[in-house]
Symmetry: C2
Subunit: 375 residues, 2 copies
């Protein structure tokens, strides 16, 4: 199979939006910036635009490399590029850092124009619909009346789903990958522990750690370690780490004994070194709040009735965070409405993280669907 | 069904052991105390003794009430008492707080005779086999040559399993409930996050928080919240909490929004108010280390070959911490050896915590097995 190639060097752009935006919470953003990247060329009919929405810890840098950093490969580079499933020879692809993020778009670490200091915990909380509305503003700016495709995995898939309800006339295809129509109590509980780790870190200072010159590194590290467990498949963890010992024998102490501990510490430390804790809080809360069926009195089919997009819903058998059963709730709601939906359940072993992996079957499904998208 | 009655008022006892004990780690305990309780009467033949081993957060107070506290019902009172599945009219039951515990037995908060100060993190780490050896010392003291039954759930079940290997001639029946022959990488990973929450709490002071007049309350709270998620069934959480909101509507903040958050905070706060953090560390590490098959080069059947006990292995379908598949590993190893084992898989909805619940089918299985135990 031709796996295509990377798009190569790319550069982020920034857009300023000065029309105030009323958020789902009732709060108002007076103005904001969004950082984004584009790959490929928008055709004359402006009919080949694809929006890639990012998940909890993602950003606008979906594919390619930044010239100043050879380690900067985009988080979904394996799927985007010439000849890749999301083919830059066919599509014009847009990645955007969501409002409230920490990769250049306006977020909690940005300066609050009212106080002249970082927003911190005064930054308004986000709902998925707020991101969709800001992404629509970006589409307006780019002259994109309707997206050929809106797609994403996990929280990104929830944005794609939300797009089909909020702007049904502006989405022709939605790819909803490894997502769920709403979190379960267990999902919320894991988010809660992660947030509590950050909120109770003495260095958090009520979210105003920027002003205190501190950083809730311990809390964010724990949050990420816990998150990681839920991203990986149970059997995958056993195959990859099992009960392997770091030093071959028990040392009877609390330093790293098992390889899996070493892995988690590394992931936690790395993440806590660059991600903003307030953004992490905000992203997990947006996940908690997501529940488009609330608008249909809990009836997801009723909420999705207004969607006119065609759907590809994809789930992974080893994903216990958002299991295939959760994707099927979306599929069943669409089928109930007689809407156009394809469903693929894939046997990738990588748990929730499968959506990021270059699994041949998974990529073949995405490729086959996108190849049929008419421009 | 007759569900029997509580044993009523009980009182703990304490035993001092002054013969040094070499631990699995190589460390030596010069002397130690064990706190224990007994229910029922040891018969003349001393053939009716039952050892109940406790799990991560358990202790010696298995059943009945303490006279000074009307809220002190033992943690397994629903199964122990006259006419109950573990019938005090038939059996003499012993509950013991494990060495390293925080309910009266020698543990990290006890005074280290060498320094005259609390042991803190100098307290040696425990392996399950160490607990079994100390429990054997207690059996010697009580004049119990062989237990009619050794039983427990979760980490308690692991102790029962270990008893059958370490002292095969001293156990006639082992009830291994909601246990596993060893932790998976995912199990270890959850323990690791819990430990890291405690170890990185600034109030932990390397385990010598007693001397600093502090307490890693934040870390222990997080550890317990996380533990709780793994003790409950996923569907049970959805049925009990779902996405119910505390105040009926989103408040767009980080205070409690969902009922499940309120529940977890309550559980975490309560636990952190009385449990010793060093004991929590030590108990989770003993879980990590448990792997009797290591002695048989990874072959569990080889390790269990020396056991002469009869087994009842019990698992719960909703338990994703130690799923029925893990219990079946024990059953299959015993069957491979042609050993006497009964297996019951029960449809209790309470996840791992099912072993503590008065589910009628579960109790009927335990009752039927124990009724047939010949004294």
């Amino acid at each position: 199979m031709d796996t295509g190639s990377s798009i190569g060097l790319v550069a982020p752009q920034s857009a300023h939006f000065s029309t105030p935006l009323t958020l789902r919470s009732g709060a108002m953003m007076p103005a904001f910036d969004l950082v984004y990247e584009t790959y490929g060329t928008l055709n004359a009919a402006k009919s080949n635009a694809v929006l890639v929405c990012h998940a909890l810890s993602g950003h606008h840098h979906v594919a390619g490399l930044h010239a100043d950093n050879p380690d900067s490969l985009g988080w979904w580079d394996n799927i985007v590029g010439p000849g890749r499933p999301l083919d830059t020879d066919k599509f014009f692809i847009v990645g955007v850092n969501n409002l409230g993020g920490c990769h250049g778009s306006t977020g909690p670490s940005s300066i609050n124009p009212v106080t002249g200091k970082p927003w911190g915990s005064d930054f308004p909380l986000m709902a998925v619909v707020d991101w969709v509305r800001t992404q629509a503003r970006l589409a307006d700016l780019l002259g994109i009346e309707s997206w050929a495709v809106v797609m994403g995995g996990s929280l990104g898939g929830m944005q794609a789903l939300r797009w089909t309800i909020t702007f049904p006339e502006r989405v022709r295809h939605a790819l909803v990958i490894a997502a769920a129509p709403k979190l379960t109590a267990q999902n919320i509980a894991f988010n809660d522990v992660a947030r509590q780790a950050i909120l109770t870190d003495p260095d958090f200072h009520g979210g105003h750690y920027y002003a205190h010159g501190t950083y809730p590194q311990r809390g964010l590290r724990l949050a990420r370690m816990l998150g990681h467990i839920t991203y990986l498949g149970d059997q995958q963890m056993d195959q990859r780490f099992g009960r392997e010992l770091r030093n071959g024998a028990f040392s009877f102490g609390y330093d790293v004994e098992f390889e899996v501990e070493s892995y988690l510490h590394h992931q936690g430390d790395k993440f806590a070194g660059f991600f903003d804790a307030n953004t992490y809080l905000l992203m997990t809360r947006a996940l908690d709040y997501f529940d488009p069926a609330r608008e249909g009195n809990g009836d997801l089919a009723a909420a999705l009735k207004k969607a006119s997009a065609r759907f590809l819903v994809t789930a992974f058998s080893s994903d216990w965070r958002f299991s295939p059963a959760r994707s099927k709730e979306i599929v069943h709601a669409l089928l109930k409405n007689g809407q156009d939906v394809s469903y693929a359940e894939l046997d990738c072993p990588y748990g929730h993280d499968s959506f990021l992996m270059p699994d041949p079957d998974y990529h073949a499904v995405i490729r086959a669907y996108l190849d049929r998208v008419k421009l």
